[in-house]
Amino acid sequence: MIEEIGTTEQGDLIINVGPQHPATHGVLHLVITLNGETIKKIEPHLGYIHRSIEKMCESLTYRQFIYTTSRMDYLSSHINNHGCALLVEKGLQIEVPPRAQVIRILMDELTRIASHILWWGAMAMDLGAMTPYFHAFRERELINDIMEETCGARLTMNYQVPGGVMADIHPNFQRRVKDIIKQLYKKLPEYDELVTGNTIFKARTQGIGYLSKEDAISYGVTGPSARASGVSCDIRKLYPYEGYEKLNFQEVMHTGCDTYSRYLVRMIEIRESISILEQLVDNIPEGDYQAKTKAVLKLPKGEFYTRVETARGELGVYVVSEGGTTPYRIKFRSPGFSNLCALDHMTRGQKIGDMVAIMGSLDLVIPDIDR
C-alpha cells in the first residue's frame, strides 16, 4: 500500500529547498527529486529548530509547561495553551467558571481568525502576489492589539492557566472585538476581490494537490486541510469542550479535495469564527475568571489525553503522570507534523510551483512540526 519510494535515476535533479527558503515559511528542509520541473519525490528533513519541548516539559511543573506550548504553533498559541490547561483541569477535575470558558472561546476564535488571515496573506505571497500579505497584516494587527491589551503579549500569550485565565478581560475588550468584527465584514469581500476570484489564483490552485478522503484519514491530516477533503474532523463539533456544544456554528466542509477547496474552507472558517464571536461577545457571564486552585498542582497517577482544534487541526496532549508535580512523559500530537506526512503523496507528479501552493494550503508552521 505504501507508494514505492521514488528512485533516483540518471538525469534527476535533486534540490534542497530550505532550511532557509522563502517558500517554507520558516526553516523546513525539503530534499526534492525533480525530473525537469516535475516532482518525483519530496523528503522532509526536520529538526532545524527542534527544541525538544517534550523533554523540557518533563522537568517543568503543570503550571510551567503551558508556556512552552505557545512556542510550538506560534500562530495559534492560545489554543495550544488551552489544550494544556484543559488537560490539567481534566486530571484535577477543576470546574472552570463560565466566565473563563467564554473568555477562552473568544480568545481561541480570535486566534483562529488571526491565524487564518495571516495564512491567507502567506498563501498569496507563496503564489507570487505580495500585496495581500500586507493587507492581511492590517486586520491581524487589530487582533494582536486586542491580545496585547488583555493578555499582555502579542504572540506568545500564556494567558490560559489551569483553572481559567490569567487575568480578567480588559474593559475595552468587548468594544474592540465588535470593532474588529465590523472591520472584517468590510474587508473580507476585498480579500475575495484580490485573491479568491482571481483567475490566475484559481488556475494555480484548482485541481492541484489532490488528497482523497481515505488518504486524508490515513495520513492523519486534520483541520481545514482534511475538511476540504470531506473528512469531518472538527474537534469543536465531535468532542466539544468549554461549551462549544452550546454555540451555533457550522463545521465547514468541502469535497473538492484540492488546494482551492482548502483555501475556501479556511476563508469560510473565518466567517464562522466571526459568527461565534458575535454570539459570545455580548454574553460574557459575570463571575470569577479563574477557579481556585492549589499552589502546587499534582496530577493523579494515570494517563490523560485532551484534544483541541487549533487553526491547523487537531492538537492532542498526552500526559503520563506518576502522581508528581511534573509530567512523567508528555507527547504533543501536533497537527503540522501529521499534515506534513501527506506532503510527499500530494506533490508527486506536480510541478515545482505547485509544491509551493500545496505547502501553502497545508498551512505548515515549522515550530509545530519540529516542536
Binding site: 534540490i15 507570487g128 502576489a129
Partner: protein, 358 residues
C-alpha cells in the same frame, strides 16, 4: 511646436566644420554614449524609487521615506550599498561567463535605446527597419539570462534560466504579432514614420478593436518578456529563491537589476510609440484651441508621460497578481495570445486594405 532638431543640427554642423568626418562621427558617438549611460543611471534611479513607492501605496504602507525628502534619495543609497558590496563569484562557477552575463544584459538594453524617438526629431538612429531592429535585439536578452543561469553552477539558477528561455522565446511571437498590427496599419517599419502616421490621432483610437487587442497582447507579452510579475518565473522568489541571479551580488546583481528596469522602460517606450503616438500630443478632432494648448507641451514630456504611464501599468500588474506556473504560462501564450494575435492580424489586414481605419 518646437523641436530639438535645431540644437542637434547646430552641434552637428559645428563638429563637421571643426573636425574631419571620422572624428565627427567618433565624437558624436561619444556624446551619444555618455548621454545614454547618463539616461540609464537616471532612469534606473527613478524607476527603482517609483517601483518602491507604487508597491508601498498599493500595499497600504509608506515605502522609503527616510533618505532625502520623502525618501526620494533611497535609490541613491541603494546604489551606493550595491557598489561597495563584495562582488562574489561562486567557486564552481564558469568564471568568464558568470562575470560576462550581466554586461550582455546591459549591452542589449543599451542597444535597444538606439531607434527610440524621445522627442520630436530627437532620435539616436532613425533606422528604416526600426521595429524589426527592436524585436531582433530584444531577443538577445535571453542569452544573458541563460548564460547567468548556466554559469552560476546552481540548480535554482539553471531552472530559472531554462524557464526564462522557454518564456522569452514564446512570448516574442505575440509581441511581434502585436507590433505587426501597427506595422500593417502604418505601412512602415521606421519609428519616425509610425509616429508621423499618428499625427491626426493615436493608433489606439484610430485602429478600432484590432489595435485594442494588439495593445492588450503587447502589454501582456512584454511583461512576460521582461520577466516581470506575474510572469517572473525565472526569478520566482517563492520557488527558486532568486532564479537566474541567485548567485549574483553587488554590482553584478545591480547590472541585472538595472537592465531589467531599462528593458521595462524600453518596451513601454515602444508601446507608447506604437500605440499611443510616441511624442505626438493628444489632439481631439476639430477642437483647435484645445489642440493648440496641447501643442505647447514639449514633445519629450508627451513621450515620457506615456511611457511612465505604461510602466506604472506594468508595476500595477506586478503588485496585484499572483504568479503563473510554467505550463500555464506557455498555455497562455500558445492557446490564447498567439491564436488571438493571428486572428487579429488578419482582421487588421482586412481593415488596412479596405481603409476602414481613419
Amino acid at each position: 511646436m518646437w523641436s530639438l532638431s535645431k540644437i542637434t543640427d547646430i552641434i552637428h554642423s559645428w563638429l563637421t566644420e571643426t573636425f574631419n568626418p571620422t572624428w565627427t562621427l567618433i565624437i558624436e558617438m561619444v556624446i551619444v554614449g555618455v548621454g545614454v549611460i547618463g539616461l540609464f543611471a537616471v532612469l534606473g534611479l527613478i524607476l527603482v524609487i517609483m517601483e518602491r513607492k507604487v508597491s508601498a501605496y498599493m500595499q497600504i504602507r509608506l515605502g522609503p521615506n527616510r533618505v532625502g525628502p520623502k525618501g526620494m534619495m533611497q535609490s541613491m543609497a541603494d546604489t551606493v550599498k550595491l557598489l561597495v558590496k563584495e562582488g562574489m563569484t561562486p567557486d564552481g562557477a564558469d568564471k568568464f561567463l558568470f562575470n560576462f552575463a550581466p554586461f550582455i544584459a546591459m549591452i542589449v538594453a543599451m542597444l535597444l535605446m538606439a531607434p527610440i524617438a524621445f522627442a520630436k526629431d530627437f532620435q539616436i538612429w532613425d533606422i528604416n527597419i526600426g521595429v524589426l531592429y527592436i524585436t531582433a535585439i530584444s531577443s538577445l536578452n535571453v542569452i544573458a539570462i541563460l548564460m547567468a543561469g548556466w554559469s552560476s553552477n546552481n540548480k535554482y539558477s539553471l531552472l530559472g534560466a531554462m524557464r526564462s528561455g522557454a518564456q522569452i522565446v514564446s512570448y516574442e511571437l505575440s509581441a511581434g504579432l502585436a507590433i505587426l498590427v501597427i506595422v500593417v496599419l502604418t505601412g512602415s517599419l521606421q519609428i519616425s514614420d509610425i509616429v508621423a502616421a499618428q499625427a491626426n490621432g493615436w493608433w489606439i483610437f484610430k485602429g478600432w478593436l484590432p489595435a485594442w487587442i494588439a495593445f492588450l497582447i503587447f502589454m501582456i507579452a512584454v511583461t512576460a518578456e521582461t520577466n516581470r510579475a506575474p510572469f517572473d518565473l525565472s526569478e520566482a522568489e517563492s520557488e527558486l529563491t532568486g532564479g537566474f541571479h541567485t548567485e549574483y551580488s553587488g554590482m553584478k546583481f545591480a547590472l541585472f537589476f538595472l537592465a531589467e528596469y531599462i528593458n521595462v522602460f524600453i518596451v513601454c517606450g515602444i508601446g507608447a510609440t506604437l500605440f499611443l503616438g510616441g511624442w505626438m500630443p493628444f489632439h481631439i478632432g476639430n477642437w483647435e484651441g484645445f489642440n493648440h494648448v496641447m501643442d505647447y507641451i514639449p514633445s519629450s514630456i508627451w513621450f515620457f508621460g506615456k511611457t511612465f504611464f505604461l510602466i506604472f501599468v506594468i508595476m500595477w500588474f506586478r503588485w496585484t497578481f499572483p504568479r503563473l506556473r510554467i505550463d500555464q504560462l506557455l498555455n497562455l501564450e500558445w492557446k490564447y495570445l498567439l491564436p488571438i494575435g493571428m486572428v487579429n492580424i488578419l482582421l487588421v489586414t482586412v481593415i488596412a486594405i479596405l481603409k476602414w481605419h481613419f
